[in-house]
């Protein structure tokens, strides 16, 4: 917390209430740059709410989000779209678009719909980065849930922002594609120096691929630390209320929570 100034995405005293129920209540913290941060916690802990507030999709009832030392709401939305992107979990739409068309929308903040040669190059790169070349001309409503999810992630990659926020990106994905998405995110951080924040349910993906974990419970942050320190049987038990067995292998931790 002492070196908060070094981080560009900082939130202080975030409160959001629906009716009289406080969904999140006084959240403070900072997102570490050039790393993957996972938001974990039980259903209804306020993970998605926090992510939506950090990305301006939702307005908080109290507190502030600072991005590069300026309040989030003071930014022009069109400027922010070049620096910070968000992908929510439900992406149902009634539009006849091919994967390439969809990914091309990622360039909208730059070109306002008139794509230049550079924009198309970025689009093709994003398609290749997400391994979607074979589906590039398929219509998104004809794809499987997993392929569609990857197409949306490719759109976010084409948007080419330093900060990428994803709400349950592994939804609908099988194991192969989940690993693929997480490795893609890892490469975005390691090779391109981006900062990624994800809401994630499967604890092992968080344990394997993220650098930091922010754990929420009942609308409050209970842990905000490195992955290594949060993946601990006592802490996980406190967060999720079930027993965990941590297996260490090759310096990585695997959590077993079945049949304990």
């Amino acid at each position: 917390m002492e070196n908060q100034k070094e981080n560009k995405l900082v939130f202080q005293g975030i409160v959001k209430e629906y009716g009289k129920k406080k969904v999140v209540d006084g959240l403070d913290g900072a997102i570490k740059d050039n790393a993957i941060t996972s938001l974990i916690g039980p259903n209804g802990a306020g993970k998605s709410t926090l992510l939506s507030i950090l990305s301006r999709l939702l307005k908080q009832d109290g507190g502030d989000v600072f991005f590069m030392e300026q309040k989030l709401q003071d930014y022009k939305s069109s400027e922010l779209a070049k620096k910070l992107s968000i992908l929510k979990q439900s992406n149902q739409m009634d539009v006849k678009l091919t994967v390439r068309d969809l990914v091309a929308f990622g360039r909208f903040p730059y070109s306002k719909g008139r794509l230049t040669a550079t924009d198309w190059q970025k689009v093709e790169e994003a398609i290749a980065f997400s391994d979607l070349q074979d589906f590039a001309d398929a219509y998104i409503d004809e794809l499987s849930g997993g392929q569609r999810q990857r197409a949306f992630i490719a759109m976010i990659i084409a948007q080419d922002t330093d900060y990428i926020l994803l709400d349950e990106p592994l939804n609908n994905l099988d194991m192969k594609h989940s690993v693929h998405v997480m490795k893609t995110l890892r490469r975005l951080v390691d090779e391109l120096g981006k900062t990624v924040v994800i809401v994630i349910h499967e604890i092992n993906f968080a344990a394997q691929y993220s650098d930091y974990i922010i754990a929420l419970k009942d609308g409050k942050i209970c842990y905000n630390d490195t992955t290594h320190r949060v993946i601990n049987p006592h802490i996980l038990h406190e967060i999720f209320g079930i027993a965990f067995d941590i297996i260490e292998k090759n310096d990585r931790k695997i959590c077993n929570y079945f049949n304990l």
């Binding site: 990305s55 301006r56 999709l57 939305s77 069109s78 400027e79 922010l80 779209a81 070049k82 992107s85 968000i86 992908l87 929510k88 992406n91 739409m93 009634d94 539009v95 006849k96 678009l97 068309d101 929308f105 990622g106 909208f108 903040p109 306002k112 719909g113 948007q159």
Partner: protein, 317 residues
């Protein structure tokens, strides 16, 4: 390639329909027939374009292909306003207020209604387009009921004046309104075309639109104002005709696999003009004015939807 052929064929059909409408069976008094048909044709083109634009924009911002602006009560407020004028001034109503003044006030009222509805929803926390629709439906019903109440109270002769506004007809020949209506349409189109590229992004949904840097609420407010302008043009000229929007937009989406809204709106305008001109042609020459265009359009629309349902059923089974 195929796309281009379809567009060319559509334009050819439009031109043929226009020529046929003007020249078919002109009779002896060519000057008289020509001017009357010309006015009807101009009215149909203005109405066709405004219905197409308003419906496409409305369907995209609500993310729903079976809605038209009529659900928002825009037309009801127009009819309520006309009823109110007749209620207050009686059969002298349109001696007191000129048609242009009437149109001007109606446009203002509908713009005001748009802003009011927007503020009511978006000023509060519930920033949701579906609340807007729901409120629009309720308000529309309220306006309809108020109009009906006044219809019952007023003199039958006065009612016949109001009745003129309640049914779609291209035989009304509002020559005085044609100028001011086309001016209003032009203003609405200039604004609409400037902002139409954002509709492509809004079609992806609210979250994506915000992510891609759109000021979503501001744009929705703007589109609502454009829709109010367009609906007032078509309603003032011929009556509550926006139901046509469901048919022509779906026909356009079905025929052309266009992705950009700038293409969709113009194609839809062409389709909607063809529907109106061909429909009116049938009424004038085949049915010899024994029915109105709304019945013909509803008939064609109904058959088309049965075809759609039949086809999707065949696809499933």
């Amino acid at each position: 390639m195929k796309q281009r052929q379809k567009i060319i064929i559509t334009l050819i059909i439009l031109v043929i329909a226009v020529i046929l409408f003007i020249t078919y069976n002109m009779g002896n008094n060519i000057d008289y027939v020509l001017s009357r048909r010309g006015i009807r044709l101009a009215t149909m083109i203005i109405v066709g374009i405004s219905v197409a634009f308003s419906s496409v924009i409305f369907q995209t911002i609500t993310n729903n292909r079976i809605l038209t602006p009529s659900i928002m009560g825009y037309e009801s407020i127009f009819i309520l306003f006309q009823t109110l004028i007749v209620y207050v001034y009686g059969d002298k109503a349109f001696n007191v207020i000129s048609q242009q003044e009437n149109f001007f006030y109606a446009v203002l009222l509908m713009l005001f209604f748009s802003v009011f509805m927007y503020l009511l929803i978006f000023g509060r926390q519930r920033k949701n387009i579906f609340y807007l629709l729901l409120l629009g439906m309720v308000m529309g019903t309220l306006f309809n009921t108020l109009s009906q109440f006044m219809h019952v109270v007023i003199d039958p002769n006065e009612f016949s004046i109001v009745q003129n506004f309640m049914f779609v007809s291209f035989a009304k020949m509002n020559v005085k309104l044609l100028g001011i209506a086309s001016g209003t349409l032009l203003v609405a189109l200039v604004i609409a075309i400037r902002y139409i590229k954002y509709l492509d992004v809004i079609a992806l949904g609210k979250d994506h639109a915000i992510n891609l840097g759109l000021d979503y609420n501001k744009l929705i407010r703007l589109y609502m104002l454009i829709i109010a302008l367009l609906v007032s043009v078509s309603t003032a000229l011929v009556g509550p005709i926006t139901f046509l929007g469901i048919l022509v937009t779906n026909l356009t989406y079905e025929l052309f696999k266009a992705k950009k809204h700038i293409h969709i709106v113009w194609l839809c305008s062409a389709v909607s003009c063809i529907c109106l001109i061909v429909g009116q042609f049938f009424i004038e020459h085949v049915l010899s004015f024994s029915t109105t265009v709304s019945i013909v359009i509803n008939f064609i629309g109904g058959v088309y939807f049965m075809y759609l349902i039949w086809r999707t059923r065949k696809k499933i089974s």
